[in-house]
């Protein structure tokens, strides 16, 4: 009787701690099983030479040494950098369209949905549409170039152009995404501040830069986050549009990892894991920055 009473009082005493822990437990468990543990496993596998079937042989850092001399890896890494930098163009482009659409005229909802449309369709469809657009003979792009008197180009067949061609395709839906984020942000812009700005004689660029943009900071932050993530997830467009070619010039790290570890000619699990680890470390820089900046914001909010 006494012990039962003690038990109850222990639960009762610690209720404030136990309840959140219990609520967190399922999420934490799944996060451990499906995210944290696989990351650690990747680190481990990257130290082995393993075809996924037979015995794994420990090779230490050999996979990483090979990466250092692997030209395909170097190209993939540079392509990742191109994606990260150029994909950010979606943010100013999205802002521009959002500002343009942020007015009250008849049918503006329709225009907004039309601009948002590319984000709704699947990346696979975007990839297909753009690969038709780029087709060397029948493609619309070359038809247009022909009208203005330029020579036709084979964007996806030219190793110096292909990656930019795919990024341009990716920017189409990503710009729409950023536009929606900014449209929502613009709804929350305080009209009184704009009024105050007007009284002080601000208009045009000065109004945008000093009054509107600071209020859009949360939207910009989210747009930045989703664009960086989007750039690192560029796998599907590449797979659809060029399959990594011509001769491997459009691969990014995630695609290269897939080829080495999981594709028809791959099954070098150790090497694939080593690429995954490098990709993870690159992502970690951004994730770290985002976490840090969110933490700063919350700290500021608490004060």
């Amino acid at each position: 009787m006494a012990t039962a009473h003690d038990d109850m009082s222990w639960v009762r005493r610690n209720r404030m701690t136990l309840t959140p822990l219990l609520f967190l437990a399922p999420g934490v468990l799944f996060f451990l099983a499906y995210v944290i543990i696989p990351i650690l496993q990747s680190f481990n596998i990257s130290l082995y030479d393993w075809d996924g079937l037979g015995q794994a042989t420990y090779v230490g850092l050999d996979n990483y040494r090979e990466l250092a001399t692997d030209r395909a890896f170097e190209i993939s890494l540079w392509n990742n950098v191109k994606w990260l930098v150029l994909y950010l163009l979606a943010i100013p482009a999205g802002l521009l369209i959002a500002l343009f659409l942020n007015q009250t005229i008849v049918g503006i909802r329709l225009y907004k949905s039309l601009f948002f449309f590319p984000f709704v369709i699947s990346q696979v469809v975007v990839g297909l549409v753009f690969s038709w657009f780029y087709l060397p003979r029948e493609g619309l792009l070359n038809a247009v170039l022909g009208v203005v008197g330029m020579d036709p180009i084979n964007v996806l067949g030219d190793p110096t152009l292909a990656t930019y061609g795919i990024i341009a395709a990716g920017l189409w839906p990503q710009t729409a995404y950023c536009m929606i984020l900014y449209l929502t942000g613009l709804n929350a812009v305080d009209p009184e501040q704009i009024e105050a700005g007007r009284l002080d004689g601000a208009k045009g660029w000065r109004m945008l830069w000093h009054v509107i943009l600071p209020q859009l900071k949360p939207a910009t932050f989210i747009a930045f986050v989703v664009t960086i993530i989007g750039a690192l997830r560029s796998f599907d467009l590449i797979s659809i549009m060029t399959n990594g070619g011509p001769f491997g010039s459009t691969r990014v790290l995630s695609f290269y990892m897939f080829e080495k570890a999981l594709s028809e000619y791959g099954f070098r699990m150790g090497y694939g894991s080593a690429i995954a680890v490098v990709l993870f470390l690159i992502m970690l820089v951004f994730i770290g920055y985002f976490l840090w900046s969110m933490y700063q914001d919350e700290k500021a909010a608490r004060h």
Binding site: L53, R71, N154, L156, G157, P246, F247, E264, Y265, G266
Partner: protein, 417 residues
Amino acid sequence: MLNTLKATVGTLALSAGLTTMALADDLSGTLRIISDMSNPAPRAVMEGLAAGFDEQHPGLTVELEVVDREAWKSQIRNALTANPPDVVNWYAANRMGPYVRAGLFEDISDMYASGDLPGLDSVKGAMTMDGKQWGVPYTYYQWGIYYREDIFKELGLSEPTTFEEEMANCQKIIDSGRKCYTIGSKFLWTAGGWFDYLNMRTNGFDFHMQLARGEVEWTDDRVRETFANWRKLIDMGAFIDDHQTYSWQEALPFMLKGEAAAYLMGNFVVPHLREAGLGDDQIDFYQFPKIADVAMGEDAPTDTFHIAANAQNKAAARAFLQYVTSPDVQSKINAADALGQLPVNANASVGDDEFLQQGFEMLSNNATGGIAQFFDRDFPAEMAALAMEGLQEFMVFPDNLDDILNRLESARGRIYK
């Protein structure tokens, strides 16, 4: 005793009439087959095979699962390790390597030795690895140059037998405002076919296999000679432009519209040409012409059945392999209205089709050098992937050859340990 998966099949009942084999009728339990014959015609064939075998053995239930052919290339690993089926589809020669080495395919050498598989002597080699046999073939097909007969007639050309004639023909085709060959190299393997033939014709089958086994340097002068021959065609503008952007199907319209005269391809291209409206007076086939004075080697990829090492019903699985390779079944499933390919059993009859007959004739009488499987089946997977990328690059930028060969040579040093 037929499960619902294939209950719909009635078309190709390879039925009970088959009594040529001494089949043990005490087979019982379940025979689980996973097949990659997912395209419409092969699927019907596979379903017919399962139904026919099921019917022969009242005590046995045949369970068939057909998976997508491309997806199977990576799924087979999981399928063979976790809860393996009894029988699976795969490919001959080097492609068996990973599964043989990992002990996932059953050794069936005793079936070949004891005469349980009569008529398969000529294809035994493709199923042999480490001196043992690991499965049975069920179909194969020839490669060669499929061309527009009407264009050849219009220009007064005949089927070439030497490389000089080939190039002379090609020059006339180019002069008529067409390209000699269509090719779509986006997925790389089509370039592998060109290399196979040019290398086998320039240096012979044995040299080609040495290269595949990693015994010859990629920077060897003989390899360079192969590329020099290839370059002759590239420099004269024999191939369509922008081929690196097209898949092999996307390259078909060039031939259909008569903008290119020929296509180096496997026999599976024929139904595509016919469906697109080319008549048999418009398409024909010839063997890749002679270059150097070496015995002709040919590409003839072979598709196979294997028993999983951890199969539950090995007795039934073995009986199924016998059934699939028996002459009657072989004649039926490879007929022109079924798979439309070549039977593996010497006692089977070849389908009534001009391309099948020509291909069979070529492989039986004029492939004295040897039969190769295909670039990406003869070379180890990783080497094949890297090399085919280099071949594509060479076709677009022939000047990069030195760089490409050095890259492949350093990969060779790493891949073949």
